[in-house]
């Protein structure tokens, strides 16, 4: 069964849960805030319902979500691990079964014996599970879950509300994405009223920047170039060494590039440890950078794509930037 309506799914899901002895709660690899928040919210709800359950996630859990109540009860899956004996699987924020990665690759046969419930908001979801609640209009899986829990008559306490609000906040970039609908804001209001720890969510998500990342941003942005609608810069091994910054600091650099108003296309050239270059491309809609990434064997989305190039960042910029300028000059408005 596939539905985008929590009210329709509430009754069959309640039956699935009642019939299960032990439920496995899973989500996609590289879990983001929505995935972790959703998995923990389901874990708490099953606890309230008096059910045995295991939330098993592929590490790493992002630091900004690792403090959520119940996060210390997550089982971190490593290749080769057994799954606990389970008779129901609930997958959250997961468009395809294969997106759970090694857990699927190594246990496909076992998972195939279980009823699988999917709760998701990705437009690419294929609805291939036993029971599918898929609402592509939902801003996040977490606010879809809120509506589902309400339809099931589950009380939303401050613990559950905090998990759900973190997912909703991160997936909407604090209510800034196009997916931010009136319903998303009303769910957030209800979660605040249920006692969600808004202050801690904001602190964890937006005020946890490492000083080393800020310094790396400095080195990278100081070398920023802007020409013909394209803004780009380089992050090299020397900058990581000088600042002690982690890999994720490069994401912060991209975020600043994306904010630059006069740019139509943004690019980061990141030197890898082997001296090759990872390019991360961004574009304002409707410009499409995926095709450029594909030329080098990469991929991604129309407005966010990437690839690896077997050359230095300077060499990569020399061949890629002209293509980006051509794109920026195109009339694909």
């Amino acid at each position: 069964m596939i539905s985008n309506d929590p009210a329709t799914v509430a009754a069959p899901l309640t039956e699935y849960i009642a019939a299960a002895q032990h439920t496995l709660i899973l989500t996609h690899v590289n879990p983001d805030g929505d995935a972790v928040g959703a998995a923990l919210a389901v874990w708490h709800v099953l606890g309230i319902l008096g059910k045995q359950r295991t939330a098993m996630l592929m590490p790493p859990i992002p630091v900004y979500a690792a403090w959520l109540p119940g996060a210390d009860q997550i089982v971190l899956y490593q290749s080769g691990m057994a799954l606990p004996p389970a008779d129901l699987a609930i997958l959250v924020d997961t468009a395809h079964l294969t997106r759970i990665g090694p857990m699927y690759d190594e246990h496909a046969a076992m998972l195939a014996t279980l009823p699988v419930v999917v709760i998701d908001h990705h437009v690419t979801n294929d609805g291939g599970a036993s029971l599918n609640l898929v609402d592509p209009d939902a801003a996040s899986t977490c606010d879809l879950l809120y509506r589902l829990f309400r339809a099931m008559g589950v009380p939303i306490d401050r613990t559950i509300a905090t998990c759900l609000l973190l997912g909703l906040t991160t997936d909407t970039q604090s209510f800034q994405t196009n997916a931010t609908h009136p319903e998303s804001l009303r769910v957030a209001a209800a979660l605040l009223e249920s006692g969600a720890d808004h202050a801690r969510i904001i602190r964890a998500v937006y005020y946890g920047l490492p000083a080393s990342s800020a310094a790396l941003m400095g080195h990278a942005l100081a070398g920023l170039r802007y020409e013909d609608g394209v803004v780009w810069t380089t992050v090299d091994k020397r900058m990581f060494a000088a600042t002690g910054a982690e890999e994720e600091a490069a994401d912060e650099v991209i975020r600043v590039l994306q904010r630059i108003g006069e740019a139509r296309v943004m690019a980061l050239f990141k030197e890898r440890s082997d001296g090759t270059t990872k390019i991360s491309l961004r574009a304002r809609a409707p410009l499409n950078v995926a095709a450029i990434a594909q030329r080098w064997g990469g991929g991604g989305h129309a407005q966010a794509a990437g690839a690896n190039l077997s050359m230095t960042p300077a060499e990569a910029a020399m061949v890629v930037v002209p293509l980006l300028k051509e794109l920026a000059a195109s009339n694909a408005l």
Copy 2:
């Protein structure tokens, strides 16, 4: 009359407006998004009600708000200008009459002859006008205005909704401040339903960073220092010259410093054109940097203060950073 309840204020305000021939709409100096959005929303509403009105603001209007519908009708006040003949003044987002700056200083006698209506959310508002709607619990003047318009039975069209949503969004830093209440989110939901141009607001407020500002952030953050709970850096004249960045780019540097998780105190040392130094201090609550700013004749709030020092940035850092470290090491938790 003072009230925090839009329903109570709706009737007397409707009478004031009905009795007026020409209404002057004013707000505080250095108007922010909430001030501009609120002033324009009132301007549009008075237009719908068929009334003559002038919105008169002290420039500069921030770029991110200058595109709002009606912004081209704002009269920009300059010292020495006359006020139009008016028989009612509506002040928005203004805690004291004096906060309207030169417009007050130069026309206090004329303004004293008018009935003055104040609509504001500042806790410091003294309620000294003829009619005062002051709700310190409102996240912004704009969402307070929304509730007032509803109580007055005024239809909220997409133009008014866009002005109000910009104010609410900027004053809550996209629903991240502690002032973000369930009511703020519900008003935002209603404004979206009224057709507010959410995408353009987000683009204008968050994606209009000048490339030159990003480059200046780079130069400043590359020199970032972090020691003993204090993070600080310098912006000097050379950096402004090298990047072509405007003054406001320094604010972006402070914003990044504030995001640094391990810091309890943040400081920016900005070289002024005359070679002296402006210090901008920030602290995590409950640490108080205002007292340090006051030592140098400055001031501000407990967690955001500033001062001017008659020395170079390097000299200023030498005397101020030790004080900041002392503060960061204090047990004022």
